[in-house]
Symmetry: C2
Subunit: 231 residues, 2 copies
């Protein structure tokens, strides 16, 4: 039975921008697993109420469902043991957990500053008040105020990426010679930016951009086929 | 034959403060390997000239020598295959390489600001002019100017540690249920601070401090037996 995945979408249902959903799309491709994605909006809470929570990604595997990108990755390694592993050993998974926490605490906030206002404009009308209210409560300020120092934040973000840059200057992927789930977690942040920001968050010639280009091309261009907001 | 290691020392030869040497001391203990450490000073270049470079740690294993903490860790896993692994699989090592690059680019510079002036005072007289000249050239300013904003840098450093903090709030070590070489690389930064800074770089109650305390106690208190500069 084909896997199904609820995947966060913009007003245009073909535009999928969620960093956490992209982690899973790439993980499924890594394993050679087909998936039927279902465009989902922030306010479609009742559609995924079976998962007892209100966020995507949610993966449906027959009569089972799994929410949360990390849990989905763990599930896939267990439930599809004959497919390429996302985590080669327990210690590797533990280290990848640090990479995830680095992305979420050090990188994603800087990316969010770049995309918040243009992303808001891309959303379905029914999502806009929900998005504005929840994010403004979390930020303690308006979306526009949060995004106002995007240029300064971009310079800081590029410096923050230095450990990723150094790593990718000496090995092709975070996972070494082949991508691991850590690569897909990191890639999710860049795909989020790529689909939502009006400018490239990376400078030309950055080794991080070369790694991103490789991931955009992998799996028959799965991620690269998603239109970039940047022309 | 007992392993020997050239280990950077202060004026007091019992005080070993080098973060990179501590990585190796912990790695050797992880493997249950005895080592004879030899106090070495920055200017003792001729003493390790056999290694064709001028920095410690240098490990001597019979008629072989290995310089650089990362290379030593790789060597130990290969040369002592029956001892507990520092890297459980190739992907784990690749992920640990990111942790190392994060420590070196994001954490160590903030630690250096805390310790640079007090560490200078601890050095052997013969090392002082070498240390001042090389560091001032690297920093582009005097040691005292580099350390002048230590208080601001400390606040930034504590924020920078957030991904480590989040990780250690959900698993006991970077390596998961047991320490990996990534733990020892990270620990080296804190032991460097502990032996050299006049204040604790961590706040009481920080989960990172609890992890550090665990590592200080491991291996019969190997690292904890080294006197802290903080009373």
């Amino acid at each position: 039975m084909t896997l199904k995945m609820y995947d966060l979408a913009a007003a245009d249902p073909a535009i999928r921008f969620s960093p956490n959903c992209w982690r899973v799309r790439m993980a499924l491709a890594h394993k050679g697993l087909d998936v039927e994605t279902i465009a989902w909006r922030f306010t479609d809470k009742e559609v995924i109420s079976f998962s007892q929570q209100g966020k995507t990604p949610v993966l449906v595997d027959g009569d089972r469902w799994i929410a949360d990108s990390w849990s989905i990755a763990e599930y896939l390694d267990e439930a599809r043991p004959d497919t390429p592993k996302l985590f080669e050993c327990a210690q590797s998974k533990a280290h990848a957990w640090f990479v995830k926490n680095w992305i979420e605490t050090a990188v994603n906030p800087g990316v969010a500053k770049q995309i918040i206002v243009p992303l808001f404009a891309m959303l379905d009308e029914k999502d806009k008040s929900y998005f504005r209210e929840t994010r403004e409560k979390a930020f303690g300020m308006t979306l526009e105020a949060f995004g106002a120092d995007a240029a300064d934040a971009l310079a800081t973000l590029r410096k923050t990426l230095q450990p990723l840059r150094v790593t990718l200057s000496t090995q092709p992927f975070l996972g070494g010679q082949a991508p691991s789930f850590a690569d897909y977690v990191a890639f999710g942040a860049f795909q989020w930016a790529r689909t939502s920001a009006p400018h490239d968050i990376l400078e030309e010639g950055d080794v991080v951009a070369a790694w991103r280009a490789t991931l955009l091309e992998m799996y028959d261009g799965l991620a690269g086929n998603m239109p970039a907001r940047v022309a």
